[in-house]
């Protein structure tokens, strides 16, 4: 009997695992089980081009249906896994059937963190993670609508940017002193605050949402700790992601802010792997464990899982990277800035084209490149290869980005 690999989750990591298993020569059965009814799709456009109505739904799909047929991969869509017996290697599915596996892959991703304040269940309140989330808010996403965005992270700011361009009246509530505090330095947060304000978005920092009251006619009133009362027909909440670990944990698989995996994406239980946003994994370049919310990480871990299932001792060793599009600004981030003790800014934020280099004890950890693709590329190479940098050269615009590598 042929062996079977079962993948739980139909996001970027799950789809990549399917593709990479066949590329690595896996001859057995592949079954992908996903609780959403659609083919695996890309999430980044949900808060960008798709929300803006600039991208047809078919373009969201990572691969067309025919692709999975060609790979002889079975997709069980709209199906969820209820429980796992890792002794007998059996899954119980919500349609009453069971599925056995020889290798199991968790690609379960994450779910949005939800508001817990009173009035959080107001019908104007929406989240943004899935295709259905976007479709649910589209009817209200029209010019003149008052939109309140809760949370000044990437999802919140991207939503605000699309909304402002569409003529919505946008207010953003941010708990910290500047947006993006969790992921970027104050200068970058301040820059994004400025470009949003220039686009007519009202950003309220140091502001906590205390409760939501019903104003009638579908309107929500957001009550803040600063005594404000902000009215909105549409509320979009972007306050973070929780990794989907419960199924793994209930099967006895070790979890700690994510499903704990080693450098081969193996979990604590034999024949069980995990990839993507749901993993807490070691990064050899940064020499610590991390959990990432990232397309690139999902793809690379999917490849790592597939290679290891096929008997290759592939180890994950990647410099993370991310991107965000807001207005005419393309932010490209490479690396993880956690622990930085110095920032070096190259270029002028006022010009809407600059890069922030994050260093720790003189070593480059990460770069936020704002309309600066050459600096992004240079930094990716510097960090990947562990090269030295000099602060003077990073600041010196007469030294081209390509020459930064040559030091």
């Amino acid at each position: 009997m042929s062996e079977t690999t079962v993948i739980i989750g139909g996001g970027q990591a799950g789809a990549q695992t399917v593709v990479s298993l066949r590329r690595e020569g896996f001859k057995g059965n592949i079954v992908l089980i996903a609780d959403e009814p659609e083919l695996p799709y890309q999430r980044p456009p949900l808060s960008k081009a798709y929300l803006a109505g600039e991208m047809p739904k078919e373009r969201l799909f990572i691969k067309p249906a025919a692709f999975y047929d060609k790979l002889e991969a079975e997709l069980l869509l709209g199906v969820s896994v209820e429980s796992i017996d890792t002794q007998t290697q059996q899954l119980a599915l919500n349609d009453g059937s069971s599925q056995s596996y020889d290798q199991l892959v968790f690609a379960t991703g994450g779910r949005v963190r939800r508001l817990t304040c009173s009035g959080a269940d107001h019908p104007a309140v929406h989240y943004l993670r899935t295709l259905r989330d976007v479709e649910a808010m589209q009817a209200r996403f029209t010019a003149g609508t008052r939109l309140a965005v809760v949370g000044g992270g990437y999802i919140g700011l991207e939503t605000a940017a699309v909304a402002a361009k569409h003529g919505l009246q946008v207010t953003v509530l941010e708990a910290q002193a500047t947006p993006l505090v969790r992921v970027a330095c104050p200068e970058v947060g301040q820059f994004f605050q400025t470009i949003h304000q220039q686009a007519g978005v009202s950003i309220h920092c140091d502001t906590l949402l205390e409760s939501i009251e019903d104003e009638g006619e579908g309107i929500a009133a957001l009550i803040t700790n600063t005594g404000e009362r902000i009215l909105a027909e549409l509320v979009v909440v972007g306050i973070g992601l929780l990794p989907n670990v419960e199924l793994a944990a209930s099967a006895g698989i070790a979890c700690d802010n994510g499903i704990t995996v080693d450098e081969h994406c193996r979990t604590s239980v034999a024949n069980v792997y995990a990839a993507g946003d749901c993993t807490n994994h070691p990064n050899p370049i940064y020499q610590r464990r991390m959990r990432l919310e990232s397309v690139h990480n999902a793809i690379e871990q999917g490849k790592t899982v597939a290679a290891n299932i096929c008997g290759k001792e592939a180890a994950y060793a990647q410099v993370p990277w991310f991107w965000s599009d807001q207005y005419d600004v393309k932010l490209q981030t490479v690396g993880i800035n956690m622990g930085y003790d110095q920032t070096v800014i190259r270029g002028q934020p006022d010009s809407r084209s600059f890069a922030v280099f994050y260093l720790q004890a003189g070593r480059l950890l990460a770069v936020d490149a704002i309309n600066r693709p050459a600096e992004f590329v240079a930094a990716k190479n510097i960090i990947t290869q562990g090269l030295e940098v000099s602060v003077d050269r990073l600041q010196d615009e007469t030294v081209s980005a390509k020459e930064l590598i040559a030091t």
Partner: protein, 106 residues
């Protein structure tokens, strides 16, 4: 519809009918052309749709922008014929275009 030919590094050639307005990364993914992944969805963020454009066609393409130019530096086999397929939109002027996927891009 225009005809675009994708040639793999092993010489396998595929003629694909592409609707005008579609970018040539999407067209490749939809038609299961190996070697073109388009991981970022076509926003010049990943360089996984690197192609070499046959010399006869290079002048007919829109010039590349700074982002595409920089991202191509991330690829191993960049040369003067390199482009990102996601940044090439099918137009009538490109009917018959020939693209080659680089060695080792998968």
């Amino acid at each position: 519809m225009i005809k675009v030919t994708y040639i793999e590094d092993n010489g396998t050639s595929r003629d694909i009918d592409v609707e005008e307005g579609t970018n040539l990364m999407d067209a490749a993914v939809d038609n299961l052309v190996p070697g073109i992944d388009g991981d970022c969805g076509g926003v010049s963020a990943c360089a996984t749709c690197h192609v070499h454009v046959d010399a006869a066609w290079q002048d007919k393409l829109e010039p590349m922008n700074e982002t595409e130019d920089s991202m191509l530096d991330l690829t191993d086999s960049r040369d003067d014929s390199s482009r990102l397929a996601c940044q090439i939109t099918a137009t009538a002027a490109l009917d018959g275009l020939v693209l080659r996927t680089p060695t080792g891009q998968h």
